[in-house]
């Protein structure tokens, strides 16, 4: 059984209710897919991390899907995002599928999207600049 949720308070609360219902039917506990994760927001402390969510829900994580702009165009044109070799969300979904078939696949590193250390440093300084002006 797979439970899919976003790292958002109302979504996690709903997921907890679903897990409760599954357990009541002896179909639990299921495994968790955390969808639409933004690593830079987690780093800033503005988004629950996968660890926070598994802590709260007390179920096993099977995949983390990053927020990805290729998802909506894929859905628009009716081509599964999993077929897009360049989509990070696609990779995440394929990894989940492999884990479901029993393969051991390491969780992907989600921080690549922020463009490396120097880019992050530049963003950080830019942030400091904005703070000073405001």
């Amino acid at each position: 059984m797979l439970i899919v949720t976003n790292p958002e308070v109302s979504a996690v609360r709903d997921a907890d209710r679903i897990i409760g219902l599954l357990e009541a039917e002896n179909k639990g506990p299921g495994q968790l897919i955390l969808n639409r994760v933004k690593m830079d927001m987690i780093r800033r402390g503005d988004m629950l991390s996968a660890e926070d969510v598994t802590d709260i829900l007390a179920i096993r994580l099977i995949g983390i899907v990053p927020e990805d702009e290729t998802v909506i165009p894929a859905s628009n044109s009716g081509v599964p995002v999993t077929l897009n070799e360049n989509s990070r969300a696609g990779v995440a979904f394929r990894n989940i599928a492999r884990r479901l078939t029993g393969e051991t696949v390491p969780f992907m590193q989600l921080d690549e999207s922020s463009g490396g250390f120097f880019n992050r440093l530049a963003q950080w300084f830019a942030g400091g600049q904005n703070n000073r002006n405001s």
């Binding site: 996690v12 609360r13 907890d16 709260i56």
Partner: protein, 136 residues
């Protein structure tokens, strides 16, 4: 340059919104899971105290009755209900000798706390070994 240092020093000082989210969730889920909203819990606390007060003097202001979660389906009601500081002993006997007795009694009050832990569901009651206070 001060903005730089402010930003640096402020980091971690204010609680991050993710941390608030986690705390908010933990609070709301413990009530969700046992289907007992905070108002009902408050009502229950008052009734428990009323019953206990019929038999012993309770230090009402120090009472702590709260829900606690060990893991999913391991919710407990933890009650710490200290007796009031031996007023009855002082009242009943005015002698100085008795006053010293009252003193020792209040010094050991902590050991006399009514400590009750009641497992919330059957799964928890199977396991008697969980009758210890949480280490977290």
């Amino acid at each position: 340059m001060s903005g730089f240092f402010d930003r640096f020093l402020n980091r971690g000082k204010e609680q991050s919104s993710a941390k608030s989210a986690k705390e908010r969730l933990q609070f709301v889920l413990i009530h969700d899971r046992i289907n007992l909203p905070p108002e009902r819990l408050q009502q229950m606390k008052e009734e428990i105290l009323a019953v206990i007060s019929k038999y012993v003097d309770v230090a009402a202001e120090d009472v702590d009755i709260a829900l606690e979660q060990r893991e999913r389906n391991r919710n407990m009601l933890i009650a710490e209900i200290p007796f009031s500081k031996s007023r009855k002993v002082e009242d009943s006997a005015g002698a100085a000798a008795d006053n010293t007795n009252a003193h020792t009694a209040s010094a050991t009050d902590d050991q006399h706390d009514t400590r009750a832990e009641s497992p919330e569901d059957e799964a928890a009651s199977d396991d008697e070994t969980t009758d210890k206070p949480a280490s977290q």
